[in-house]
Amino acid sequence: MRGDAMRDGESAARPNGAGLHGLKVLVAEDEALVALDLECTLRELGCDVLPAAPSVAGALAILGAERPDVALLDVSLADGSAAPVAAALAAAGVPFAVVTGHDAGGIGEAALRAAPRLGKPYGLRDLRATLARLSAASR
């Protein structure tokens, strides 16, 4: 709750990429526990986290209603490759990174392969650096 209060207090004045406070993040990840932990960590960083989507359909539904500042995508979701989500994000001009245990060669789709990659398992610092990079691109 303390985290919530802090987030609410600062989201009104969203800084221009200097910090991550109020950065609206879409997470697409099909493993519940990993998604839970990622959301938790993002909240600690002050981000405004949209409910994590386990599937392409779920992520596209969220994108139909919300415009995140940045997105973090697992390469393969419950109903298939995240490529359609990547395409929708690219069309909307939302910078995104793929969060994956694959190296670049293991990613089939060009749109996913070309995106910045946050390698699993990631530490807080890696996550923060990726978000900072995406946040700078979202301006």
Binding site: A32, L33, A35, L36, P54, A78, G101, G106
Partner: protein, 573 residues
């Protein structure tokens, strides 16, 4: 032969017909040998049918083409001779200039390895593996290419490469999952031992699901096998498996399900049906309306409240429910059969439809030692229903002295002024034994009180019982000897501590009872000498509960009877 036509020419001197004949015979022999060699070479080339062997001129046009080349590449010799040798490269490689680069390298380095996909006459492809060599001697300037079809080996290599890459990917995913598990377990663990035991259990559950997944080749896994694997470590014969639908889950869903069932079983063993001697659990999985509905029913355990609670297990479960809804897996949360880590007796006593009025607004919270839940005269924003731990209501006197006037544990709620229509209270609410509670925003409680007659009646009865406790405590503290007061207080704490030992310092007891520390020391020493309690390293152990009840004044029993009468709440006090 020139010499025959030009016997007296510039050649060496001729010494007679015998000599000439000998020379001719020798040349014939050489010629025969040469023909034989050529035939043998041709035979070798033709027999080496596993190898495509071809030569080209300096410009890359085919000048010879063996049977192996015909077999491997599809063009027969007549078609191939004079053909542009670049045609055996794939169009992409031709566009990139790979044939020219290969020839240049062969010339510069004496050989060029040729390991690539090649094209046949019909456009199909094979993995050719071989060499391009510059020809020497008469055909100098041209090239010799020798290669064989290594498609099978190549595909094997690629498959192995893929497997290794996939393995690396899975290992990293698992590491990410384990890291997430460690972080989430760590966030909620009280201490290192607690962390280790919870983490170990979760890791073992994960290992069990990995066994099943690798048996299934990391494809879908049968639900029944997953359920059995998840419950096996917890099953002492009291976990009953009902009908489980024949269904297969994908690896991520399988993993989530097993971790979630592990949490349910762990909770049941710690706080639920499996903690009671005759408790049991029944699990079923059926398909209804296109969805898999898993129902987990506990029977014979302590009363359970609907799916609320704190901690990893419940959070993960809620998460799996939300996360998998699209994936056609969900949990059936029936109020009658749920595992839950927070068991507040007031909430458990509510009829389900009235609990439903609150359920959406309740949130699981930790109660941290010495945390102030409500400050004196400050608006109460959240009320608390403890499931474990204990909260003291403390009055502050002007000199800064504190004194406890009441105690709340899982039998009650913190925030009664709200029920009685006030915005704030005159006493402070402070956590005295850490635990867990469900928090409810004041506004949500006020709203529910408007609509829930049973809730209103229950909380008013609790207010009356608590009032009795406060009044009796005040009277007791004013009149009774310290050791009786100490015994009464220890009994009240023991009722709420959830165990026979609890952390407590003498200073703190002195403050709570409004006694000097020396007084507590003497009284505690008396209880210790009679073997009723043991006091060591800041912890009190209740050794002889009837002895403690015998030492206490009548105040403990009086309050307890009120709780029983008003709330049908046996261990109230």
């Amino acid at each position: 032969l020139n010499e025959e036509e030009d016997p007296g020419g510039a050649g060496p001197p001729v010494e007679g017909p015998g000599r000439l004949e000998a020379e001719i015979a020798s040349l014939r022999r050489e010629l025969d040998q040469a023909r034989e060699r050529e035939a043998r070479l041709a035979a070798i080339l033709e027999s080496a049918s596993d190898y495509a062997i071809l030569t080209t001129d300096p410009g890359g046009r085919v000048t010879s083409w063996n049977a192996g080349a015909r077999r491997l590449l599809g063009w027969d010799e007549a078609e191939a001779l004079g053909m542009d040798g670049r045609l055996i490269f794939t169009p992409e490689d031709r566009a990139r200039g790979a044939p020219e680069a290969e020839m240049a390298r062969a010339l510069a380095e004496g050989r060029a390895e040729d390991e690539r996909w090649h094209a046949r006459k019909d456009g199909s492809r094979f993995w050719g593996s071989g060499l391009l060599l510059p020809l020497r001697g008469a055909a100098a300037g041209g090239f010799l290419k020798v290669m064989r079809d290594q498609t099978a080996r190549r595909e094997g290599d690629e498959r192995q490469g893929l497997l290794i890459r996939e393995l690396a990917h899975r290992v990293k995913n698992s590491l990410a999952l384990i890291l997430a598990m460690a972080r989430q377990t760590g966030l909620r663990a009280a201490d290192l031992d607690g962390f280790l035991s919870a983490f170990e259990g979760r890791l073992k559950a994960l290992a069990a699901v990995h066994d099943l997944l690798s048996e299934a080749g990391w494809r879908s896994t049968p639900l029944a096998a997953l359920v059995r694997a998840a419950l096996a470590p917890h099953d002492d014969g009291r976990v009953r498996l009902g009908r489980v639908a024949e269904l297969r889950l994908n690896p991520a869903a399988a993993q989530d399900l097993v971790l979630a069932l592990h949490e349910l079983a762990t909770n049941a063993a710690k706080h639920g049906a499996l903690a009671a001697p005759h408790g049991s659990v029944r699990l079923e999985g059926r398909i209804a309306g296109g969805e898999l509905v898993l129902s987990w029913r506990e029977a014979g355990g302590p009363p359970v409240a609907p799916p609320t609670g704190r901690g990893f297990g419940t959070t993960l479960l809620e998460r799996v429910v939300a996360h998998r809804r699209g994936g056609r897996v969900r949990f059936d949360w029936r109020p009658a059969g749920l595992a839950c880590t927070v068991r507040n007796w007031l909430l458990a006593a509510l009829p389900p439809d009235e609990f439903a009025l609150l359920a959406g607004s309740l949130r699981p919270l930790d109660l941290d030692l010495r945390q102030t839940l409500h400050a004196t005269d400050r608006p109460i924003e959240l009320v608390y229903f403890p499931g474990s731990g204990m909260v003291s209501m403390v009055a502050a006197l002007e000199g800064g002295q504190l004194m406890e006037v009441g105690l709340v544990g899982r039998e009650g709620m913190v925030g009664l002024p709200v029920v009685l229509g006030a915005e704030s209270g005159s006493v402070e609410a402070m956590v005295q034994l850490g635990g867990a509670a469900l928090g409810l925003p004041t506004a949500a409680l006020a709203e529910a009180l408007d609509h829930g007659a049973a809730l209103r009646a229950l909380l008013l009865r609790y207010a009356q019982a608590f009032h009795v406790q406060v009044a009796q405590t005040a009277a007791c503290n004013g009149r009774h000897p310290v050791e009786e007061r100490l015994a009464r207080w220890l009994l009240m704490v023991h009722d709420r501590a959830g165990g026979d030992t609890f952390p407590m310092t003498q200073e703190f007891i002195a403050t709570m009872l409004g006694v000097r520390r020396a007084g507590v020391s003497v009284a505690a020493g008396l209880l210790q000498r009679t073997g009723v309690i043991a006091y060591r390293h800041g912890r009190i152990a209740v050794l002889d509960r009837p002895g403690l009840e015998g030492t206490s004044c009548e105040c403990y029993g009086a309050v307890r009877r009120h709780f029983e009468r008003l709330l049908n709440n046996p261990a109230g006090e």
